[in-house]
């Protein structure tokens, strides 16, 4: 009975939902995320999003990478993380390039990473607005695209995830020497 008491309706404050195959994993996820300092809300998923069990964890979608890492570290099995807003698109997967002569700027979503074509050294990152971005700016600058830490491993937010995509694309471009 306690479980049914704890289930709440969706709040207006979360914008993402973690879906689970079974109730026990959902409860474990709530505990893990709370301990890691994330805002969470145990809810019943709306019918159109329901997969697996009828218990889900409402989250701040911006924190998705940090949440995924917390789940991996604590062996929490989840089905999917989905945006809650009806009509919301999937994560952006478009990458755009700007040629600056000796340098190329790779843009993924709101994040941009610029590296020197010959050496592969990252000379700048720009864009974004989440608190992990200035740290990653400092961590990535001066390192080659191959040696730089992966934003997905050290960041917590969707801005970090977009920077990660820009870095992955930069690695691929540098590997084939195609930086036109």
């Amino acid at each position: 009975m306690e479980l049914f008491k704890r289930k709440k309706r969706l709040s207006a404050d979360g914008d993402g939902l973690v879906l689970f195959a079974d109730v026990q994993e959902a409860l474990k996820a709530e505990k893990v995320l709370k301990k890691a300092g994330h805002w969470v809300n145990l809810v019943a998923p709306p019918p159109e999003l329901r997969k697996g069990c009828d218990l889900a964890v409402e989250i701040h979608l911006t924190e998705q990478p940090g949440i995924e890492r917390a789940f991996a570290e604590k062996d929490v099995a989840y089905l999917e993380i989905v945006p809650l807003r009806e009509g919301c698109s999937e994560l952006l997967d478009i990458v755009q390039l700007t040629d600056f002569g000796d340098w190329v700027m790779v843009k993924a979503g709101n994040m941009k990473l610029t590296f020197e074509k010959g050496s592969g050294v990252i000379v700048n990152t720009s864009g974004g607005g989440c608190p992990d971005i200035p740290l990653m700016h400092a961590e990535l600058l001066g390192k080659t695209v191959l040696d730089a830490p992966k934003p997905k491993d050290i960041g917590f937010t969707l801005c970090a995830l977009m920077l990660h995509r820009a870095l992955e694309e930069s690695i691929a471009l540098h590997a084939v020497g195609d930086t036109r």
Binding site: D15, T125, L135, H137
Partner: protein, 299 residues
């Protein structure tokens, strides 16, 4: 008084509140130092450059360390919600933090209780949370880049990573369409300064100015050059300029400082910030039409 609030990338730094001082390329608030790099540091530095040039009261900063885990962001939210009325800022400029829609709404409610409502400026993730929480129309100034403009135009996205790909693909020449959509769906502040190859200054949905010169394309690659624009807008607004004038001069000054720095994509934002005093000395009179601007602070 102008308040600038945002996180800095130092996990160990507790909440610090106080008047900003400069120590070389570092900034100091309540005895705590943080670098003038991409993010809140760049924004504060640009605002400080304006205040010092015009001899205005230096900005008050509300900062806390946060590397994405959210603790410092929550400390800033809580401090502002509890104290904004007594602090009574003329300008409240919000910057990097972990977006929280509930706390953003609480802050907007607290601001409404101020005896005199401050000019509300938002950039970076504070702009994301303002838009996602439906509070955008309560803000006076947003300073989005092209991608963030698409985010403001998307009626459901709560972060630029989830914007509709058709909006993201939009050619920059269609920025006016995005601006129209953002105002239509309540995703815009009263005034927008849209940063890009062409900067747009928009008031209540109407494009009132575009700025293209000097053209310095590499500025887009340099981390912090968007942050400096926001700091300039906030400071010029605090100096008493009309918001659209503050935005126009900020856009021009940022471009000119970029040009004077002779940048490459590897240039650091601090090299551009160092140019601001020379830019102001050379152009502020011409751009503002007020050639005898006198500040109130005496050193």
């Amino acid at each position: 008084m102008m308040i600038i609030a945002g996180t800095v990338p130092d996990k160990a730094m507790p909440l610090a509140v106080g008047t900003v001082d400069a120590d070389g390329d570092w900034l100091v608030v309540d005895g705590r130092s943080f670098p003038c790099t991409q993010g809140t540091g760049a924004m504060v530095s640009a605002a400080l450059a304006v205040c010092d040039y015009l001899k205005l009261e230096r900005p008050t900063a509300v900062i806390a360390g946060d590397i994405g885990e959210g603790k410092g962001s929550r400390a800033i939210y809580e401090h502002l919600i509890a104290n904004v009325k007594s602090l009574a800022p003329e300008v409240l400029a919000l910057h990097y933090w972990l977006p929280d829609m509930a706390q953003t709404k609480e802050l907007c409610e607290a601001v409404e209780k101020c005896d005199t409502r401050p000019i509300m400026v938002a950039d970076a993730a504070s702009m994301y949370s303002a838009k996602a929480s439906g509070m955008a129309p309560r803000f006076d100034v947003f300073t989005p880049d092209a991608t963030e403009m698409a985010f403001l135009a998307d009626p459901v996205a709560t972060h630029p990573a989830y914007i509709n790909r058709h909006l993201f693909d939009t050619d920059v020449t269609r920025t006016p369409d995005l601006i129209g959509a953002a105002y239509e769906n309540g995703g815009a502040a009263r005034l927008l300064l849209v940063k890009g190859a062409m900067d747009y200054v928009v008031r209540d949905g109407e494009i009132i100015e575009t700025i293209e010169e000097p053209s310095v394309p590499v500025l887009e690659a340099i981390g912090g050059t968007g942050d400096t624009i926001t700091g300039l807008v906030a400071a010029f607004a605090c100096a008493g300029l009309e918001l659209h004038e503050a935005a126009i001069i900020a856009a021009k000054a940022n471009r000119m400082a970029g040009k004077m720095a002779g940048p490459t994509p590897a240039t650091r934002v601090v090299e551009i910030i160092r140019q601001f005093p020379a830019v102001f000395q050379q152009y502020l009179c011409e751009w503002s039409g007020a050639c005898c601007i006198e500040g109130g602070r005496s050193d």
